[in-house]
């Protein structure tokens, strides 16, 4: 049975509302991510700080008291612990949501329909991840310092270097996290931890200085592809400058190169996924 459809009253050219500025849409997208982050803050903090804090307790508190490690190990450990927190809080806060949202649920779609150039949707994810990484680092630093007690050579006097290193590290880690999030499928999540993140931590110079790897020269150069190396060494340059560390310009250059590389790769992949 056919029911005649109602004829619309007008066929005149419609007048459309003016376009919303991309900056406004960007802020709205960020608001959404921060809303979700606020709601999940306790879980987020547990997820991102548990592993570094356990390391602090065992390697920065128990082992020195047992006499297995000296005080100088704490000097190497604290910046590394901070680097791991920053790196993985940033990358995980974008990788896992992206894998899920681009996966079976396709729930990223409502943001892909927002009136903003699609690469900016990807950039917003990086900015959100940076914020979360910074929060994790701010939480871990005092806790680690508290548990480990006095740390030889630790200083807060290189504030400028610290700000530069932290911001660049968070950016590089977030871009890396976005790249992982759009490059892997939900079925590959297991590999993410066992084949990518765990080796990154162990070969990220978080628990020993990069210069120490001179004992295995080929490994010392191989690990330079690992973003965590620059984050750890940058933290050392800023927080424990008297201890061995990579020169700050090398750290900055490494982080800049990796940020550009991973941002480009991530946006390229993001666009391919977004546009079917």
């Amino acid at each position: 049975m056919t029911t005649p459809a109602t004829t619309p009253a007008t066929t005149a050219a419609p007048s459309y509302r003016p376009r919303v500025s991309s900056a406004r849409v960007f802020v709205a997208l960020l608001n959404r991510d921060l809303r979700v982050a606020r709601r999940e803050l306790p879980y987020f903090l547990i997820r991102t700080t548990m592993q570094p804090l356990l390391f602090v307790v065992v390697f920065g508190y128990l082992l020195p008291r047992m006499g297995f490690t000296g005080e100088e190990f704490k000097t190497a450990l604290l910046p590394g612990i901070l680097a791991v927190s920053l790196m993985f809080a940033s990358s995980q806060s974008v990788t896992l949501p992206m894998v899920q949202e681009f996966g079976w649920t396709k729930e990223i779609e409502d943001r892909l329909l927002a009136p903003i150039p699609l690469p900016l949707v990807a950039v917003e994810k990086i900015v959100n991840a940076m914020i979360q990484g910074l929060i994790a680092a701010i939480v871990v630093l005092p806790l680690a310092r508290l548990v480990m007690g006095p740390i030889p050579g630790f200083t807060f006097t290189h504030v400028g270097a610290l700000v530069v290193v932290v911001l660049l590290s968070a950016t590089a880690a977030s871009a890396f996290g976005l790249f992982l999030g759009v490059a892997i499928s939900p079925q590959q999540i297991g590999f993410l931890f066992s084949l990518i993140l765990t080796p990154m931590i162990f070969f990220g110079c978080a628990y020993y200085p990069w210069s120490g790897l001179a004992v295995v020269p080929w490994l010392q150069y191989l690990v330079l592809i690992n973003p965590l190396v620059y984050v750890s060494e940058g933290m050392r340059a800023a927080l424990t400058p008297t201890a061995p560390h990579m020169p700050l310009p090398a750290v900055v250059a490494g982080l800049l190169v990796l940020t550009v590389l991973f941002t480009a790769l991530a946006i390229n992949r993001f666009m391919k996924r977004a546009l079917g």
Binding site: T2, A5, P8, Y16, E107, P115
Partner: protein, 271 residues
Amino acid sequence: MSLAIETHALRKVYPPAGGAQRFQPSVGPGNHGSAAFAQSGPTVALDSLDLEVRTGEFFCLIGPNGAGKTTTIGILTTRVRPTSGSACVAGADVVRDSVTVRQRIGVVPQRPNPDRSLDAWENLVYHAGYFGIPRREADRRAAELLERLEIADRARLKVDQLSGGQQQRLMIARALIHDPAVLFLDEPTVGLDPQARNALWAILRELHAGGRTIVMTTHYMAEAEELSERIAMIDRGRLIALGTPAELLAQTPDNSLETFFVTRTGHGSHL
């Protein structure tokens, strides 16, 4: 007469997938309505499609599975990039000015894809925020839409706690909250019970009566016949028939759109 949508020689070819096999809808004779694993090779999803949809029109795209309906909607909603040809939606080009197109359209997807990190209410107000609607106004519109779609009592539930039909209504509310000029619905009644389907039809009629352009895909003949002013029938990526329901029915011996569909495509349809 102004046009809400205009496509010219629209073509979409999906490249071969990496690996030995890729999953693709079957388009071979006798295989409509099913899907098959095919050896890798380019898939022509849309082949030189010319369409015009008038402003304020209720337009239905029908065709068997794999005919190119979803690809057409994907291109018109800027989510799929055409291989060649052009498409203009709400006065803007879908490739060159996709941001403007997105500002002016609402999309109800084939499968509900709400933001699962948010509750139903937040799904609406944050989506409104993406379109520059101030929070107070977004709250007002969300309340109105949830009421109208009869899911106001579900507003503060996580979307996973909503039934399939309720999620679909939420998708309709989301598509409408920024008051789009053109509304796209991709098989919106699949999986809905008759009651929910009737409720959706009533909403669509009301929106259409208000002057909104509606483009809907379906493979339910009765739905297309019931709702649309004009129907385009697509098969194997090509437009094979276009007209009002009455015009199409006049071409069949038994006044049945189902018969028309079967005759033109050589395959059965869902009723």
